[in-house]
């Protein structure tokens, strides 16, 4: 117990230092391009965290995350056209995403396993069509498709948006930790181990999964709204796009699905590859796809799982201990 407590404290201190450094970067004059990659990291990280909660902990392979982030983005953007300020638009967008999750749950929650995956994959495709056809406000088309500029972000600087993203990312971590420690988390763990057994012990499987779905939709929506605040423009084809699903899934799976540290590690890898191969976008995704396949085959628990296995292996463990204590093996 004591050792576990001290380990937790160490993790907490490291996390606090990382957060302080990330928050201070804009103030100490970090280059704009760094901040852009970090902003992407923070937004993808928050979304991957939520997908990990869905797929890893609740067993819901949701392929409709673009629907949540897109609806929230649209709600926030369209809000600025009718006089709703962006800072109301952010939570408002999250609420819209959560309500939408509640609505589609009527259809998709009747499906289990692969059927759930299919059902959710269709949702963003349908929404893309809806937003091509439907212009909620402002008659004339602007640019290609049914696109909207974000109108008036009232003196919010790009640093401000960066800090917002940082807040959302931290919030997603704390929320995930809170959920996993709560009754909801315990129930999910019981469902994951044996759904039938959990149900017969009085766990309301449907309700717990629904709560998880709605919470994940809200936070994914919030992160999406911050992204479109930064982007300043939203249109259907890039928004309700399977590319978002791919990024979120890659980050979670490469890092390690069903591990708390997985999404962080995975998002670092994804954004780093994105940065490294920025000029060859196609190659970046090709390499990520290959990594994804190999991770799934060699270490289904991702890089975090791989690290754990190496640490647990008797021989490597001995080497690691000797490295740590500074004695020759």
């Amino acid at each position: 117990m004591g050792q576990k407590g001290s380990k937790e404290r160490t993790t907490g201190i490291i996390a606090a230092i990382v957060v302080v450094v990330l928050a201070a970067l804009p103030l100490i004059g970090a280059p704009e391009s760094w901040l852009l990659y970090l902003l992407l990291f923070l937004i993808y990280f928050a979304m991957a965290n939520m997908w990990n909660l869905l797929a890893g902990y609740a067993g819901l392979i949701s392929l409709c995350q673009p629907a949540f982030l897109g609806l929230a983005g649209y709600a926030m953007t369209v809000g600025t056209w009718v006089g709703v300020p962006w800072w109301i638009g952010l939570p408002g967008g999250a609420l819209v995403a959560a309500l939408f999750a509640l609505v589609i749950s009527v259809a998709v929650f009747r499906l289990s396993g692969v059927y759930f995956a299919i059902g959710t994959l269709v949702v963003p495709e349908a929404l893309r069509m809806v937003f091509y056809l439907w212009r909620p406000v402002g008659g004339k088309m602007q640019g290609a498709g049914a696109g909207y500029m974000v109108k008036g972000i009232g003196g919010l600087s790009s640093q401000g948006i960066y800090w917002l993203a940082l807040l959302v990312a931290i919030g997603s971590v704390l929320l995930l930790r809170g959920i996993l420690k709560s009754r909801l988390g315990l129930g999910l763990a019981a469902i994951r181990d044996n759904e039938r057994c959990a149900a017969s012990s009085g766990v309301n499987v449907f309700r717990l999964k629904l709560y998880t779905f709605v919470i994940a939709a809200a936070i994914t929506g919030l992160a999406g709204a911050v992204y479109y605040l930064y982007q300043g423009y939203i249109e259907p084809s890039a928004t309700f796009n399977v590319k978002w699903t791919m990024t979120i899934l890659l980050a979670t799976v490469i890092g390690g699905i069903r591990t708390e540290g997985g999404p962080m590690v995975g998002t670092v890898v994804v954004v780093f590859l994105y940065f490294l191969l920025a000029r060859y976008a196609g190659y970046s995704l090709l390499i990520q796809g290959i990594i994804l396949i190999f991770i799934m085959l060699l270490s289904p628990q991702g890089l975090v799982g791989l690290a754990r296995r190496i640490a647990a292996h008797p021989r490597t463990r001995w080497i690691m201990i000797s490295v740590r204590t500074g004695r020759a093996p």
Binding site: A107, A117, M129, M246, L285, I290, L292, I293
Partner: protein, 289 residues
């Protein structure tokens, strides 16, 4: 979608013929699901890969797309066997979600490989006959649509005959009905899965070729056709060849009739809403058991 005249019959006939193409695309997906309970998320991209193979054969060797099937079917057959044997098959041993995510990875790889090899430009398989029209009474239809319909029927009947008449087909059917019982009867299910995937990919080669003669395609077209194939199998019921064929026809007719009634821009939306409704009301499909 080339509906000049304002009557109801034209979109109806076009929808039926188009449905043949949708069935053709969906048959492989349906077979793989029926046999190994896997939603192959890379199916659309594998179909588009076949379209590009046909495009390469036509452009560099001047080989007619239909004749090109002699090369593309065996190629896709072997590729399918390899994918199942060395990637998906190993994933099944880990957990039930693993193959789904691996398939997603394959989709990502294929999409970007196609993009690198062929650029993101829109391509098409233009032959002398695919752009011709035929007449029914005074109504005019593209020949390529008729070819799609015929190919859909031929592949559906061939798959049905294969599954019921041949030893391997019966082994595949047995393994899909009860894997353990099939193993006890001496069926090597790993080998059977490999062949099932290979055959599904053979049908994807046909689908990709006829798709390329009907619609322009890009490296990212896979996802739209995957969604259409999903819709088809959701309507028809996963795993049944005949059901899948009728699913394609219903989807095609809904699309063209929707376009006729509410305007071409909303035709795909109507299809997606239909799919979601059927999933909500009857997840096993209209013809599912």
């Amino acid at each position: 979608m080339g509906m000049g005249s304002g009557d109801v019959i034209t979109p109806l006939i076009i929808g039926i013929m188009l449905g043949g193409l949708y069935a053709l695309i969906a048959l492989g997906l349906s077979l793989i699901f029926g046999v190994m309970r896997l939603i192959n998320l890379a199916h659309g991209d594998l179909v588009i890969l076949s379209s590009y193979i046909a495009y390469a054969l036509l452009t560099y060797l001047g080989l007619d797309p239909v004749l090109g099937l002699v090369i593309s079917i065996p190629f896709m057959f072997v590729l399918g066997f390899v994918i199942q044997r060395y990637l998906l098959g190993k994933g099944f041993a880990v957990s039930s979600e693993t193959p789904l995510i691996i398939a997603f990875g394959i989709s990502l790889v294929l999409q970007n490989l196609n993009q690198i090899l062929w650029t993101p430009l829109s391509r098409g398989l233009n032959t002398s006959y695919s752009r011709m029209s035929f007449f029914v009474g005074e109504r005019q239809f593209p020949v390529s649509y008729l070819l799609d319909f015929v190919a859909g029927i031929v592949v559906m009947l061939a798959l049905r005959a294969f599954l019921t008449k041949t030893y391997m087909g019966r082994a595949i059917t047995a393994a899909s009905q009860d894997k353990r019982a099939a193993q006890l009867m001496g069926i090597n299910t790993n080998r059977v899965y490999g062949y099932a995937f290979a055959i599904a990919m053979g049908s994807a080669a046909v689908a990709g070729t006829f798709l390329g003669m009907t619609f322009p395609f890009t490296p990212t077209s896979g996802i739209s056709f995957l969604t259409i194939a999903f819709g088809t199998v959701v309507i028809g019921g996963l795993g049944s060849m005949l059901g899948t064929f009728f699913g394609g026809i219903i989807l095609g007719v809904f699309q063209t009739m929707g376009g006729y009634l509410f305007g071409p821009a909303s035709q795909m939306l109507i299809v997606y809403v239909l799919v979601l409704l059927i999933l909500a009301i009857r997840p096993k499909g209209l013809f599912g058991r």
